[in-house]
Symmetry: C2
Subunit: 230 residues, 2 copies
C-alpha cells in the first residue's frame, strides 16, 4: 500500500537539509524524510527528539517470535523521543512518507519532559485499552484517536481521517487480528457509524455514537454480523 499523501511531494532522497530552519544541534540536518517502512533513528548514537511535521509514525515492540505490538501512532505536531539504549525494546517506523524535525533533547529540556509525560499518559490509556476493552471498544477508540491526529477536510460536517495504517497495523496496535479489525470496521460501516470506499479515507458518520461505543456504552453491543440486528 502506497500512501502517497496528496499534498506531499515524493522525494528521491531520504535525507534532506532545509537550510532555513533553526534546530538544536548545529552539526545535524534539521529535517528528515522517512519513507514508508523505514526505521527512525536506528543508527543514532545519542538521544533524539523528533517532531512529526507531516506523515505518520508507529512506535512498536517486537517479541522474539515475531509478534508485534504497536504502542503508539504519532501524527503531525506530536513529538517523540528515541533513546539508543532502548536495546531492541522500542523502534519507530514510518507508515507513510514522513517528514520529521530532528531536535536535541539537551537543548530542549522542557519539550523533552513534555514529550515523555505525554508518551506516558498515552501509553497508560493504551494499556487500559489493550487489557480491558473488547474489540468494538478498541476499534472505536482507535478511530477517534486517529481522527484527531490525521484530520482531513470535513465532509458534510463530519470528521474525515486519513488512515495510514493497514489492517495489519491496526491489529498490532489494538491487540487484535486483522480479521477482527476488518469485521469490526465493516460492522461499523453497516451500522452507519463510519463510512469508507477507499480503505485509507474514513468518515465518521456518527461520531457521538462512536464515542459511546468507545466508552463502553453498547446499546447495540454485538460486533459480529448477527442476524438479529441491522
Amino acid at each position: 500500500m502506497l500512501h502517497v499523501n496528496a499534498q506531499q511531494p515524493i522525494l528521491p532522497h531520504p535525507l534532506l537539509v532545509h537550510p532555513g530552519l533553526k534546530s538544536g544541534t548545529a552539526d545535524k540536518p534539521f529535517l528528515n524524510f522517512i519513507a514508508p517502512g523505514e526505521d527512525l533513528g536506528a543508527s543514532e548514537t545519542s538521544p533524539r527528539l523528533y517532531r512529526v511535521i507531516d506523515g505518520c509514525l508507529a512506535v512498536y515492540h517486537l517479541l522474539a517470535d515475531g509478534r508485534r505490538q504497536i504502542t503508539d501512532i504519532i501524527g503531525p505536531g506530536r513529538t517523540i523521543s528515541q533513546q539508543p539504549e532502548d536495546g531492541g525494546n522500542r523502534s519507530i517506523k514510518a507508515l507513510t512518507y514522513t517528514e520529521v524535525e530532528v531536535l536535541d533533547p539537551a537543548a530542549n529540556p522542557v519539550l523533552a519532559a513534555e514529550t515523555a509525560l505525554e508518551a506516558l499518559m498515552r501509553l497508560t490509556r493504551h494499556a487500559t485499552l489493550l487489557g480491558r476493552m473488547n474489540a468494538a471498544e478498541k476499534v472505536a477508540n482507535g478511530l477517534l484517536d486517529l481522527a484527531e491526529q490525521f484530520p482531513r477536510k470535513l465532509r458534510q460536517g463530519r470528521p474525515v481521517l486519513t488512515l495510514y495504517l493497514t489492517r495489519s497495523d491496526l491489529a498490532d496496535w489494538l491487540g487484535l487480528t486483522i480479521e477482527t479489525v476488518s469485521r469490526t470496521l465493516n460492522q461499523f460501516k453497516r451500522e452507519g457509524v463510519i463510512d469508507y470506499s477507499h480503505a485509507e479515507i474514513v468518515t465518521l458518520m456518527r461520531p457521538e455514537r462512536l464515542k459511546d461505543i468507545a466508552s463502553g456504552n453498547h446499546p447495540t453491543a454485538s460486533v459480529r454480523a448477527s442476524k438479529g440486528k441491522a
Copy 2:
C-alpha cells in the same frame, strides 16, 4: 491480608545508594508510610518523585464503568513520579504497608529523567504483554517480574517471592479475570513449575521452565485443567 514486611532485601537498584541525593522540599517529611489501599500523592499539588523503600505500589488507571488496569507494580528501590495534572488518568496505591521516600524532581533532574525512561520502557513491555500474549505467558512474565522486585531468601536454591498482589490485582495487571489467573497459577503448580501453600509466598521451582513459558515456548501449552496432561 496483612503483609507485614518481607525482610528488606538488599536493594537491587544502583541509584539507591547515592548518598548525596537531595530530598524533597525542605518543608516536607522525607519518609512517608502508606497503608494498604491508600492512594499516594492524591493531595499533592506539585510533581513528586517517590522512591519505594519497602513495600509495594500499584500504578493504575480506571475506566468510567469501573474497569481497572494496573499498569505497573513497583517494588523496593524503584522510583515513580506522580504529576498532579494526570487528571484521573493515573493513580498510585499501596498494596501493603509501604514506606516511600519523597523527593523533589526539580532537585533531582537526573533521577527524574531516569525514572521516566524506565517507566516508559516497562510500560512498552507491558503493553506488548497485554496485547500479544496468552494467559500462560502473561502469568509467567508477571511472576518473573515480581520475583525480581520482591525477592525473599532462596529456598533450596530456588527463587522465592512475596506476592503482595491479590488474584484480583494480578488479573487487573495482566488483563485477565481472577478465575483465569487462579487456574493458570494452579496449572503451574500442578506442573511443578511453581509452588505455594500460603497464597502470598510463591517459590519458583523451575525458573527456567517459567522463562520458557514466558517467552512463548510452550511444549506443554494448555493452561486449563485438561485430561490430556499431568
